[in-house]
């Protein structure tokens, strides 16, 4: 027996215990390992919203663990109609079609517009102000082209193992997707 600082169990019982433990671990761990790792890849998965499932309920703004949700609105310009009367920009029942805050859907003023040429306006989202409430998207999807949609912005997302928003999404719109292509973008069908 080699010299040790601490006496280790050297009798038969201890040896058998250890051997059976190692065997059990190798067997159990081995099957677990092989089954779980069959297509293992080094990339982590990230959370993302499927814009076709999302129903703009507004829970994204409330359920993120961060104070300002990592979910923000994005604008697919190629789908946009550039309308003067934008249903995403103006809220239903707006008293007038001017750029006053009372007429807008957006509670934080994140959705702004700029005249391109009459009667077309370019609508832009200021991401720092957007809270992901989905009000503009609701109008755009219901009456417009649906060029506005919600996405989890990976630079703000903490990438929690269990996304708190995903737990509360009524439309089950959250998926884990590979980190390599972390966005599900609406595209033109042409």
């Amino acid at each position: 027996m080699k010299n040790n600082h601490e006496p280790v169990e050297t009798n038969r019982r201890g040896f058998l215990k250890r051997i059976s433990a190692v065997m059990a671990v190798l067997l159990g761990g081995g099957t677990l390992f092989l089954r779980a790792v069959r297509g293992a890849q080094p990339e982590r998965t990230v959370w993302q919203i499927d814009p076709l499932k999302c129903n703009q309920c507004g829970r994204c703004a409330d359920n993120c663990v961060q104070a300002q949700s990592a979910v923000r609105c994005v604008h697919q310009y190629e789908l946009c109609g550039y309308c003067k009367l934008c249903f995403g920009y103006f809220r239903q029942g707006a008293p007038s079609l001017t750029e006053d805050a009372e007429n807008q859907n957006c509670p934080t003023g994140a959705l702004t517009r700029k005249l391109v040429e009459e009667p077309y306006y370019e609508y832009t989202i200021n991401e720092e102000l957007c809270i992901g409430c989905g009000k503009c998207i609701k109008g755009c999807t219901a009456f417009g082209n649906g060029s506005l949609f919600l996405q989890v912005r990976q630079e703000y997302c903490l990438k929690c193992n269990q996304c708190s928003i995903a737990l509360h999404c009524p439309a089950d719109a959250f998926r884990r997707i590979p980190e390599k292509s972390p966005y599900i973008i609406k595209r033109c069908h042409e």
């Binding site: 601490e6 006496p7 990339e43 439309a171 972390p182």
Partner: protein, 415 residues
């Protein structure tokens, strides 16, 4: 999807901007984390077994709290990675990242050889609780034994929850995650505060009575080759280590117990035989009870809940419907498909409940049996399953360890 308004033809030469979404952090922390975890585990094992330094373990736990806890946000932690492994087992579409697998395996591997060195100074949750132990109180043995059943229930519920797609329970009810992220829901902040305040008087409440990963670590550490020895040779039974341990993890030598309780060996054998006969009854009863109690858990699954809401709706369509039902109707999925999914989840949860109950029954039986087992321990030593390797007992043992000559096992001659 048809566009209601056609794309404009711009005369002024305006070009439609591209939607450019990038924003992935270029520095890949998830490769560094398993590496640092390995380094921390090696340092912890060295501090416990070679240097026997409580100071070293303390510094290591501060570093672990700072890096794994506050800097990396305590996520993904090895405790949570357990759920990813289970998800990879049950859900074929989920591919397990290798880094997460490493986070899961490394502490287990070290536990198999060195005991729960992860818990003592590497786990950020453990480190946080360890730092607030100011006035630890000894709990009565029956209370500790009862509370120690909770991790089994929690582990079982976690497995069932992941298998049925009900979400990650360990992450959802992690009490300290709001501190690590410096933001979070009010309920999580409250829960964390309760755990920390309780932790001042009850050492490591989450580690001892809740952590499901710690449960697996304790099973493996039971088989560890290197057991922590407080004294190198004849224990003088001063019991300083026993009072130093805040987690009440030091086991008494056999003579101490026998003197206290005057155990008659014949009584012990009879009790053992009776308990062995009762084993199937205990397992059966526990399985039945847990099978019943698991039903509200099955109802909490979102698919099951949605199906129940849909079937309870009156056909008039007058009452306001929940967002979930609205979303379901808009999605165009069939109710029969949902019914099949809900039934499958219900079945899985029921089976999970019976298995968990049987397992719990077995663990209760094992706890009862401990009273009837003959012990041969002759010194105070830490319980390998419950010792977190925090090193407090090492500082209190009065026998000077480092100056002792090397001990040769098995020979009586001195050289």
């Amino acid at each position: 999807m048809m566009e209601r308004f056609p794309r404009p033809e711009f005369q002024s030469g305006y070009t439609i901007p591209n939607l450019n979404l990038s924003g992935i952090n270029s520095f890949r922390f998830e490769y560094i984390d398993p590496l640092l975890l390995l380094v921390a585990l090696i340092l912890a094992a060295l501090c416990v077994f070679k240097w026997r330094s409580r100071v070293g373990l303390f510094i290591l736990s501060v570093f672990s709290l700072a890096y794994f806890g506050f800097y990396r946000g305590g996520c993904i932690c090895p405790a949570g990675s357990l759920q990813n492994i289970i998800l990879a087992w049950f859900d074929r579409s989920y591919l397990l990242p290798v880094t997460v697998l490493m986070l899961f395996l490394l502490p287990l591997l070290f536990s198999l050889f060195y005991g729960r060195v992860f818990c003592g100074s590497v786990c950020p949750l453990g480190a946080l609780q360890d730092l607030v132990i100011f006035r630890p109180v000894r709990l009565p043995a029956w209370l500790t034994a009862a509370l120690c059943l909770i991790p089994y229930i929690y582990l079982g519920l976690t497995v069932i929850s992941v298998a049925t797609g009900s979400g990650f329970l360990v992450c959802r009810y992690d009490p300290f995650i709001a501190f690590f992220h410096r933001s979070g829901p009010t309920t999580t902040l409250l829960l964390g505060s309760i755990f920390l305040i309780a932790g001042i008087v009850i050492a490591r409440p989450y580690c001892r009575f809740f952590c499901p990963y710690g449960l697996i670590l304790s099973w493996l550490s039971f088989f560890a080759g290197r057991r922590l020895q407080i004294t190198p040779e004849k224990c003088i039974q001063c019991r300083l280590c026993e009072s130093a341990c805040p987690s009440d993890a030091i086991l008494k030598p056999a003579e101490g117990i026998q003197k206290e309780r005057k155990i008659d060996s014949r009584l012990g054998v009879r009790r053992l035989a009776l308990l062995t006969l009762l084993l199937p009854i205990i397992i059966g009863v526990a399985a039945k009870i847990t099978g019943e109690l698991i039903k509200p858990f099955a109802n909490a699954n979102p698919q099951v809940q949605l199906y129940r809401q849909l079937t309870q709706l009156k056909p008039g369509g007058q009452q306001p419907v929940s967002l979930e039902i609205q979303a379901f109707r808009e999605s165009g999925d069939s109710v029969t498909g949902l019914a099949k999914k809900a039934a499958a989840i219900w079945r899985q949860t029921q089976w999970g409940g019976w298995l968990l109950g049987g397992f719990l029954g077995f663990m209760i039986w094992l706890t009862l049996i401990r009273g009837a087992v003959i012990r041969t321990r002759d010194k105070y030593e830490p319980d390998p399953a419950r010792c977190f390797h925090c090193g407090r007992c090492l500082t209190f043992c009065p026998l000077p360890y480092k100056t002792k000559p090397k001990i040769i096992i098995g020979t009586a001659n001195e050289r």
